[in-house]
Amino acid sequence: MNFAQLPAIKEWVASWRLLAQSKAYLVMSAVLDALFFMAYGFLTAPILDKLTTHIIIIGSLAAEQLRVPAGRMRPAVIDLIFQPPVSQYTYQFLGLLVLLGLVVFVLFCLVQGTNWRFASWLTHRKLGWRQHLLQFARVNLFWFVLYAVWYCIDAVLDLRRIAIEKATGEPSAATGIAWTAVLVLLVYFAVISYPELSIRKGFLLGIRKATTMVPAAIILIAHFLAGNLVVRLIGKVNPAAMFIIGVVVLLLLIAWVRLYITLVVRRAAHGI
């Protein structure tokens, strides 16, 4: 088997070559990604802080309600959190989740949509900024709703675990690796759908062209692991250099990832 002929390897070479030729893209992508991370931190930190406070309050109040005299049946946690005095914080918690989703959605669509448009522009698709952003938002709406469902179930599982732990004083089983695998699959199909801006193609390519997409995903993950390893090793010598080089490596890899995925998906999309 000639590995150099594999589509994932061919496009790997092509993507690095394209990145080296497109310095303007690299700079714009890095600037926008840095801006994205800063804005993300600034806007989501207060919401995440409030969410944590709410989880603690809801968990404590629910645990208090769960402490029933011996012989009486314990109420279900899910019923408890929608009854006073816990319900007011549960509704606030849900409101905060919606707000968090909205903030991340707007920020992600605006900045990442623009960056994906640059990558598409360099490779094949010549859509205008507004059209690209609107289509990117439409595709992401679907993925964000799925992610919101995943996140809500995860949060309820967490709440249940905290309440049971507080009531019984014993550690409860963690959510588990299967639930994380669902999220990984979600991200896999979502990322594949970005270059063609089509959810249907995302699923089709992700399943039918798995022999191309999975090796590409492995190559992609290997790059981030290698980058992480290099940055950690630098950190052992010089912590300040670790931060600066870490940021540069991260921004460079993100810029490359978009080009690589776009090229791999474009090649695979010809076959369906």
């Binding site: 806007l43 207060p46 919401i47 402490r67 606030q92 707000l99 605006l110 900024w129 507004r130 952003l133």
Partner: protein, 46 residues
């Protein structure tokens, strides 16, 4: 630049401004009790 593009940019700016306003005033919109007051309100553990 087309008129639709200008409207699009203005709508985006408006959304961003509204979100920043909400996030900055999050303590007013989603009030929670003071930590000590909350702990005191809980029944003592038997």
């Amino acid at each position: 630049m087309k008129k639709a593009d200008v409207v699009f940019v203005l709508v985006i700016l408006l959304i961003i401004f509204a979100l920043i306003l909400v996030v900055v005033n999050i303590h007013v919109l989603f009030p929670t009790p003071e930590p000590q007051a909350f702990v005191n309100s809980l029944a003592p553990v038997q």
